[in-house]
Amino acid sequence: MLVKRSTGKPARGSLARSLASGLAAGLGATVDRRGFLKSSGLAAGGMAALSALPATMIRKAEAGPMVPNVEVVTRKNVCTHCSVGCTVIAEVQNGVWTGQEPGWESPISQGAHCAKGASVRELTKGERRLKYPLKLVDGQWQRISWDQAVEEIGNQLLDIRKQSGPDAVFWLGSAKFTNEASYLFRKLAAFWGTNNVDHQARICHSTTVAGVANTWGYGAMTNSYNDIQNAKALLFIGGNPAEAHPVSMPHALRGKERNRAPYIVIDPRFTRTAAHATEYVRIRPGTDIPMTWGILWHIFENGWEDKEFIRQRVYGMDEVRAEVKKWDPATVERVTGVPGEQVKRVAELISKNRPSTVIWCMGITQKTTGTANVRALSILQLALGNIGVAGGGANIYRGHCNVQGATDLGLDVSTLPSYYGLAEGAWKHFCRAWDVDYDWMKARFTSKELMEAKGIPTTRWFDAVTYKPEDIEQPSPLKAMFVMGHGGNTVTRMPEMLKGLEKLSLLVVADPHPTTFASFKQRRNGTYLLPACTSFETDGSRTCSNRSLQWGEKVVEPIFESKDDYTIMYLMAKKFGFADEMFKHISVENTRPVPEDILREINRSCISTGYTGQSPERLKMHMKQQADFDKITMRASDGPCKGDYYGLPWPSWGHPELRHPGCGILYDTSKHVMDGGGVFRARFGVERNGVSLLADGSYSQGSEIQDGYPEFTMAMLKKLGWDKDLTPEEARVIQAIGGDKPDEVSWQTDLSMGIIRVAMKHGCVPHGNAKARCVAWNLPDPVPVHREPIYSPRPELVKEYPAIPDRRDFRLPQLARSLQSKIAESDLRQRFPFILTSGRLVEYEGGGEETRSNPWLAELQQTMFAEINPKDAERLGIRNGAMVWVYGPENDAKAKVMAQVTERIGVGTVFMPFHFSGYWQGESLRGNYPPGTDPIVLGEAANSVTTYGYDPVTFMQETKVTLCRVEPA
């Protein structure tokens, strides 16, 4: 029967009853949020008393919408489950989140949610959340206090730092952080003295960022979800937004319906997105470049490319032509398996229905050729002249709610916030912004060399634990890992990950849930679980995939003993002894840094990506005035935000007072720079081998320089005679920064932002006006070329399309060609006859601990499965619903899963969703979770059978193409 949310009995209701098995066991915490509130009055001490209560004694709460005379407070936040950024309207009574309403005024989501968004209220009920800090002692979880936890963790980390150096600690942050927390975590790692700080972007879209940034300047989606409604043709490749980004789909479907736009899906799997396609192309996994070049072959052959656009704004297209020439229809069919006719039809549809948009996701990025894949698609859009126009663009759907923001704010091993990199100039810029001494900062690191060297990426942290010390280019292998908001089943090669986990002397997991890390019994000591709260229990901004920032209000206070990310970071910084330096310009209330202050510091320092105009005040105003924004252009036509794009999608140049509106569409020359217009970024010099890299006769509306130009520096201002437009204060700051070389101060390092202001006053974009690069000479493959996956299902193609040579990067060795050829020459293909690929389910997110703990979602997907084509299943004698073993080719890996026999997946291919964990080779790990925190649904992790393979540019892991064998269990 139903149980009322307001008059309570929640513990007797759906959840507590349902979850009784887990809860009754250990913590005695059969208490929900309401129960907790009442009896403890928010005081921490209440827990002990509550533990004694039997389940049936949990009393009614006093709060609820049905109870008259209880005030309902409405709070606005943003869904934490994907990058679309759906507005969540929370109704709160007596501090309890009791109702959720659709946020219809949101220009992005317009009140829509997917299964995850429509169930976020459960997160603050927290039946299966971590409730207080825990410590693993001889395999048993012990409750400890926060003070004890911070003290013990801090001491151990400081010991490790003293003995093995700061680089022996790996700081793993989260794409679910707010922007402020992401920035703070990066800053924490910098103050700690290491670049070993990373987050989920590494494993989802790092190759996108590297690929598109190396093509036209910035690593982000160029247009917006809403803008897809303007597209005349849609090409989805390696993405399944119907499950991964459902609320982006109304925009796509409206585009399809209103413009009668062809809707093309290229995917090895007939996804739910493909179910609505007008053209579905099934390709062999790992052949995205041949497919793209095959399309481009027809475009060049028929002269469908945008020649004027290429002449003005694209560098190096001729080299692409030479590569594309190799990909005639017969070759494409031989490699991809796609009929030549179909490739031609796709080419024709996207060429003749322009602007056309290309949408991709992890099917493109999580490959050994991820960066090259991304670049090939970018080049396709450049050839069609689809960049910088409404309805076109490279619409790259990011994964987590704030993976864009966390990437922008430098939660990354290769850069400081805002893509400044790690060079001395970047450190000096941030030392100025943070108001700390550069030499002091340098002393925090083992050496200047390591200070400027890329750290170890999260895809291979365990290699940095288990490899021989001489193979790791830092003084010591990793000894400790501090994880905030990151699952343990997200990287490939889990059997080896477990070895790394075992060898770590300290593991700290700060998360709302214990995560997969806590479920393995390899560790018996030295693991700490810190209850972090969700983003609904704190405030701060998050950046959606379309670069809009949205401010989320704290809905309720952190439940149980959980603390927000800011507080946890502050407590650690304080323990480490550098809190005063780190929070010099950030006020701290009790132990909680004020997020608005952190955002203001971001506004001051993150100049190069245009994170400067988005002051907390403006962002809050946008959330309040959502109704004023147009639902397609996302521009406010009225009200206090008039003229602004919703969420001030970066870049929003200059001081907030300049009221730059943000850029709805990147690189759009049809608008004035102060109107959101832009050009390709001059990031790679002005000429290459005698050929100019600057735009040719193309410039943004109203620019006084009617041609390409390099990025703005003080010297350039002087040359143009615009330096007299600087205010005396701006000139003084520039002088102070430049010292004896003020001319070298660039728009990026000018903390006064005067150079930007002056450039824009003259209609110029501060980052210069260049061509997009088809040839990225700094990458391993300047022009993308097809390379077979390491575990190629077509060994005969390996000689023709070999992987890159073995190399070293990110402080680690990377095997590629040697491994690939060894595999190709062995009989592996016979023993592992299936291609294994992985992907997403709509009900779950990421590693899935959070969503699998939510009964409203967990009920909808209760079993981990593998999709197998009926023909294969018949051959193997597997019926639908039967259990099968999926064997991986490395480390005797195997996983026991349910067979889902469906035409959805092609013959010879197996698909597994990656959200599951909590089972290991057929064994349940439920008992290893701290009592009461085990997710409702457990299953084998897809990554327990995935294999070696990394993109050379970012060390993105290969999850989409490997080999496997399936046997009935």
Binding site: R260, P262, Y263, T278, E279, L349, E859, L860, Q861
Partner: protein, 336 residues
């Protein structure tokens, strides 16, 4: 032309233009899309009048039925035909028996009671009979309450009281299925031998057991005459059919899907209706319909004259057996 007429004309013209333009507008809107996203053949929703089964991610497989138009037909049966059939059979039987009673009256023992008793059913026989009988009666009544309560009882006692009644009825109905089934098994085991068909049954049936013969002459019969055998087999077959269908109805979806459940329900209802009619006749003939008949099940003994009249062959067998048994009465395979 008056102003009024002119207005009318303008209105008509405008209307005509609109009417003519509409198809054009429509045609424009209906223009073929670049690629029709799905053809009629591809989308099963175009033909929604058959049962449509898809897939669901939740484990409850029966929810994968998108539509089962049969539900409406089942409703038709449940709320109309079942009542008609059950009502007609029960009331029809009552009416027929009333008429018969008026015509024939109670069938008397033609020679009158002898005052001597012949044992006919032992305690165990009677236990089996009455267990089954009482269970059946309770289930029949509660079944009729569930079937006819809405039109007949709700207007009398109101919704709340009827819900309590109906809830108790379902409870009793389900509970008494157990003794009913056990009784049925006992009956079957202990009486099957005497209920096997034989030649004499044909004679009995041809003369309808001599029921219409007021002179009281009855065809010869063994322990059970053909009429009783018919009842026996009706009870055995009908009873087991009711028991099996009933148990399956109690455990919904354990063996069959929704279509099967509907069929089970229809079978259960129809068989029960028939059984009720048969049992009404059985009760009639065992009570007011025939003098001396009730004693057999009521007290276990029958008047000697009754025995001679109705079960002459059995009576003689009994006498013979008694003699062979040194004058002590023989209970026919009694379970003493």
């Amino acid at each position: 032309m008056t102003r009024h007429h002119r207005h009318l004309l303008i209105h008509l013209l405008v209307l005509a233009v609109l009417v003519l333009a509409a198809p054009a507008v429509r045609a424009q809107l209906y223009q073929n899309p670049v690629n029709p996203p799905a053809t009629k053949e591809q989308v099963p929703l175009y033909q929604p009048q058959e049962k449509l089964v898809g897939t669901v991610s939740i484990p409850d497989e029966k929810l994968s039925v998108l539509v089962q138009p049969e539900g409406r037909e089942w409703r038709e049966f449940r709320s109309y035909w079942l009542r008609v059939v059950a009502g007609t059979l029960a009331l029809g039987m009552l009416a027929a028996l009333t008429l018969f009673y008026l015509f024939r009256g109670t069938i008397r023992i033609s020679k009158g009671r002898s005052g001597r008793w012949v044992p006919r059913f032992g305690g165990f026989d009677r236990f089996a009979h009455w267990t089954t009988a009482v269970s059946f009666l309770i289930m029949a009544i509660t079944g009729l309450i569930i079937t006819f309560g809405r039109p007949l009882l709700i207007p009398l006692i109101g919704h709340e009281a009827f819900t309590s009644t109906a809830y108790a009825s379902t409870f009793l109905h389900n509970f008494f299925a157990i003794p009913f089934t056990l009784g049925l098994i006992l009956i079957f085991v202990i009486w099957i031998r005497d209920n096997l068909p034989e030649k004499a049954d044909l004679v009995w049936l041809r003369t309808l057991g001599g029921v219409l013969n007021k002179a009281g002459e009855h065809p010869e019969a063994g322990r059970f005459n053909a009429g009783q055998k018919l009842i026996f087999w009706a009870v055995v077959f009908g009873g087991f059919a009711l028991a099996v269908s009933g148990v399956l109805l109690m455990l919904p979806f354990s063996v069959t899907g929704i279509g099967g459940m509907q069929i089970l329900h229809v079978l259960h209802g129809l068989i029960a209706s028939l059984m009720i009619a048969v049992i009404i006749a059985h009760i009639y003939i065992g009570t007011i319909g025939m003098e001396g008949a009730f004693d057999a099940m009521g007290r276990g003994v029958v008047d000697e004259n009754w025995a001679k009249e109705h079960h002459s062959r059995w009576y003689e067998e009994q006498i013979l057996a008694m003699r062979a048994n040194d004058g002590r009465p023989v209970h026919h395979r009694a379970a003493e």
